[in-house]
Amino acid sequence: MNPRRALAVARKSLSQFRHDRRTLGFIVVMPLFMVVVFGFTFGGSVSHVRTLVVNDDSGSVASRILGNITGDTLDLVPATDLAAAREEVRLGRAWAILHFPANFTANVPLRTATVEVILDGTAPVIVGAVLGELRGAIEATLAGSGAPLTVQRDYVYGSEDTRSIDAFAPGVVGLAVLMVTTLISVIILVREKGGGLLERLFATPLRPSEFVLGHALALGTLAIFQSLVVLAAAILIFQVEIVGNLALAFAFLLLFAAGNQGLGIMMSAAARNELQAIQFIPVILFPSLLLTGVFFPLEAIPTAFRPFSYAVPLTYAADALKGIVLRGWGLGELGLDLVVLLLYDALMLFGATVLVRRQA
C-alpha cells in the first residue's frame, strides 16, 4: 500500500468534483431539499382537525375537559344533534365527534364516565392526534380535581418540545450520505470502466487497494462537506437542537461513507453504463428510507420485517447519529453500531478491491 498513490486518486476525484459544479450542487442541494421537504411535511404536527362536539353533560366536567383542549390541533365545533354530526363525518366534513353523555359529570366519581369518540379512521395520524389531545385534556382536568391517578412526565432525553424533525434530521444526514456516496461511486466506476480509464490506471503501479482507499478518501471528504451543509441547514432553518459531540458524528459518517463507496464499486461490476447504474437508486433508497428507523422507529416496523432492518447498514449509522445528536451518547453507548459499521467497511472495501481489478 502506497499512500501517495491513494492520495493521487483522492486528489483526482476531488478535482473532478471541483470542475463539475452541477454534480457538486446536486450533492449539496439534494439533501437540503430532503430536509426541507421532510421538515415541512413530517416535521409539523397535525393542525386544524375539524372536530364536532356534542356536549349533553348536565355537569361541568365535560366543559372543563373541552376548555383544556387548547392549541390549533383540533378545531372544536359545537353540535347539538349526534345523528347530524355523524352525517357530517360520513360526508367527510369533519374527522371526529366528541360526545359527552348527559350523566357524564355524575359518573366521574363512580368511575363509569365515558366519552364517546366517533372517528373517520382513514387517517391514523389524525386519529392519534384527536385521541392524544383528548387524553391530555382529561389528564389535565382530573389532575386538578384530586383524582386518584395522575401521570407525571420525566424525559431522560428530549422534551415535550421535541419535534419529528428533531428526531429525523440526523437520520436524513445519514440517508443523504448513503445516496450520494454509493451512487456517485457507481457512476464514477462505470464512467472509468467505459472510457478505458480504469485499464489505464492499472497500467501504472497503482494497486486496487490504493484505488479503493483513494476513492474512499475523496467520497468521505465529500460526505463530510455535505453533512456540514445539511446540519447547518437543520440548525439554522429548523432550529434542530444538537446535544452531542459533532466530531464523533462526523467520524461515524466517514466510517459509513467508506463502506458505501465500496458498495458502489461492487455494484458497478453489475452495471455496464450510467443508465444501468441509476437503476440502483430504488434498490438503495427504498429499504434505507423505510426499514432503517430514519423516519419511523424500528418498533413501528412489523416484526417479520425487522431482520431486514438489522441487515441494512443505515440502521446502525442512523442509530449512532441519533444517539450522538439527540441523546449526547459517546462511544460507550454506541459499541454495536461501531462494530457493525467497521465490519461493513471491511467487507465492502475488501469486495471492492477484488472486483475493481476484474473490471479493468
Binding site: 486528489r11 478535482s15 470542475h19 478505458g196 485499464e199 503501479p205 479493468a360
Partner: protein, 246 residues
C-alpha cells in the same frame, strides 16, 4: 548511451482465448531494445490483447512473456513503461496538466519532476497553451495528444502505443515519428500498433498479425522482399494468402 542486454519484450507461445475466440495464438515474438517496433494487423488481429497481456491487464491462457526482463505481469517494471491505449484514456473532466499530474504521481515522480516534464511533453505534443483547459473542451486530436503526453511523462524505457497517430494531423504525425526516433536513439524501445501499413514503414522492425497469429517479423524492407511486393499492405495480403494456402 548503453542499451541494457536482453530484449525489451520476449513472448513465448503466448495465447489468449475469450470463450471460443482465440485472440492471440501461440505467439512467439522478440522485440529488441532501442528500436521502433511496429505491430501491424487489421482490427481484431490481436494487437491490443497482446499489449494488455504484456502490461498484466489480461492473463494469458497459455505461454509466457518477459517485459524488460520481468515475467508478466510486470508489476515491478510498470514505472518504466509508458502506455497509450487505443481508447481515449484521459479524464475529460480534468485539465490537461491535472491528467498528467495524476499519472506522474502514480508512477512515483516527484512534484518538481512532474512540473518539469509536463512542460517538456506538452511542448512536444504542442499543447503548452492548453495546459489549464479541461480535456473535454479539446478537439479529438488534442485529446489523443494529451493521452500520448501522459504516456511520455515519466520518460519510460519502453513505450507501448496503441494506434497513437489516429486523428493526428500529418504535420504533427511527422513530429511524433521524429520524437520516436530520438527516443530509440537514446536506447528506449517504442512498440506501436497500427493498421496504417504505410506508416509502419518508418519502423526499424515490424511484426504482422492476422487473427492472433504471427505472419512475419522482420525489417519492413525484408518483409517486402520476401513477399516480392512494393509496400507493406501488399506484403500483408500476400502473407495472408500464403497462410490460407498452407
Amino acid at each position: 548511451m548503453t542499451v541494457p542486454k536482453g530484449p525489451a519484450i520476449a513472448a513465448s507461445r503466448l495465447s489468449k482465448r475469450f470463450g471460443p475466440v482465440e485472440a492471440v495464438r501461440d505467439l512467439t515474438l522478440e522485440v529488441p531494445r532501442g528500436v521502433t517496433f511496429g505491430l501491424l494487423g487489421p482490427n481484431g488481429a490481436g494487437k491490443t490483447t497482446l499489449l494488455r497481456m504484456l502490461l498484466g491487464l489480461a492473463r494469458p491462457s497459455g505461454g509466457s512473456a518477459e517485459v524488460l526482463g520481468n515475467t508478466i505481469p510486470p508489476r515491478s517494471v510498470l514505472p518504466r513503461i509508458g502506455y497509450m491505449p487505443q481508447e481515449l484514456a484521459v479524464y475529460p473532466d480534468l485539465t490537461v496538466e491535472e491528467n498528467l499530474a495524476l499519472f506522474g504521481r502514480l508512477v512515483g515522480l516527484t512534484e518538481a519532476r512532474i512540473a518539469a516534464r509536463t512542460r517538456e511533453v506538452l511542448e512536444l505534443v504542442d499543447l503548452g497553451a492548453r495546459r489549464g483547459e479541461l480535456v473535454s473542451t479539446l478537439s479529438g486530436g488534442m485529446k489523443r495528444r494529451t493521452s500520448l503526453a501522459a504516456a511520455l511523462l515519466h520518460d519510460p524505457d519502453l513505450l507501448l502505443l496503441d494506434e497513437p497517430t489516429v486523428g493526428v494531423d500529418p504535420e504533427l504525425r511527422a513530429t511524433f515519428w521524429t520524437y520516436f526516433r530520438d527516443l530509440t536513439a537514446a536506447g528506449k524501445t517504442v512498440l506501436i500498433t497500427t493498421h496504417y501499413m504505410d506508416e509502419a514503414s518508418r519502423c526499424d522492425l515490424v511484426a504482422m498479425l492476422h487473427r492472433g497469429s504471427l505472419l512475419a517479423r522482420d525489417t519492413p524492407a525484408a518483409v517486402k522482399t520476401s513477399t516480392n511486393t512494393a509496400n507493406l499492405e501488399d506484403a500483408f495480403l500476400a502473407l495472408v494468402r500464403r497462410q490460407g494456402e498452407a
